[in-house]
């Protein structure tokens, strides 16, 4: 029962993060929603690892953690550059490519 609850929780959190990416236009909020989604994916791995008593789920969570750290550092640096360039955090301001 609790294994099913863990998977359900991971699915709900992932869906909430996806909704956040879709409905928000502020870059900071989009990055936060991506963090929520990555966290939900890691939660699914850990729940599976606990369900079958294997350490592989936690190993995968550590890799997801590393990836989230690298992603958020690059993403926040991009957000800073974006703000310097466009003077706004609206993601739609960069809707047009130049080139």
């Amino acid at each position: 029962m609790s294994g099913e609850f863990g998977f359900l929780l991971a699915g709900v959190l992932f869906a909430l993060g996806l909704i956040g990416v879709l409905i928000r236009r502020n870059i900071i909020f989009i990055l936060m929603s991506i963090e929520v989604m990555l966290n939900a994916a890691g939660l699914a791995f850990v729940v599976a690892g606990a369900r079958w008593q294997q350490p592989d789920g936690q190993v995968m969570f550590i890799f997801i953690l590393v990836m989230a750290a690298a992603e958020v550092s690059v993403g926040l640096a991009l957000a800073l550059q974006f703000f310097r360039h466009f003077r706004t955090l609206d993601a739609d301001a960069a809707g047009r490519m130049r080139g």
Partner: protein, 176 residues
């Protein structure tokens, strides 16, 4: 123990719902920290204490501090004083405080209950995780280190100020 799992899962869902609906980014960040803490409690109840500690230290600690610094750097509004007054109002922090009080109560209950029973029979401790991490997954550890290095280089490259004119002036000064 099942109740613990359900309560912390409920807190996680509510605080994540608050994250994606807040107008103020700092309020959303507070709720996001509560969400990460409650997911850490779920990990602990499921018998993964090592990963729960990593979640608190790295996610709720390091990554959220990064977010806070960037939000601070981006705060260039003229009416920032007005915003500051607004941030100090209890409406900003009562919600996260109540949700984290629920988590604190759960934590106290876990610590004071006579036996630290996990939901599953055996818990997967840090020793097993370490043996697995540096055994069959060793190549992935190397790849993760390269990923972190590329993230570091990318962040320093993207994060610097775009002042090519100043660089040119410096070069001219040095040459003259």
């Amino acid at each position: 123990m099942n109740t613990m799992l359900y309560v912390s899962g409920f807190v996680a869902v509510i605080s994540t719902l608050m994250v994606i609906t807040r107008k103020n980014s700092v309020h959303a960040l507070l709720y996001l920290i509560v969400s990460l803490l409650s997911v850490a409690l779920v990990f602990f109840v499921l018998g993964a204490p090592f990963v729960a500690a990593l979640e608190v230290i790295i996610y709720a600690g390091a990554i959220m501090v990064l977010f806070i610094f960037v939000i601070m750097m981006l705060n260039v509004n003229k009416d920032s004083v007005q915003q500051e007054i607004q941030w100090m109002s209890p409406a900003g922090w009562v919600g996260p405080a109540c949700l984290s009080a629920v988590l604190l109560g759960e934590l106290i209950y876990v610590m004071t209950s006579s036996s630290l029973r996990m939901i599953y029979v055996g818990m997967v401790g840090p020793k097993q995780v370490g043996i697995s991490l540096f055994g069959p997954y060793f190549i992935a550890v190397e790849l993760a280190s390269m990923l972190l290095l590329s993230g570091l280089i990318g962040a320093t490259h993207l994060g610097r100020r775009n002042d090519s004119n100043n660089n040119k002036k410096n070069v001219e000064r040095k040459s003259s």
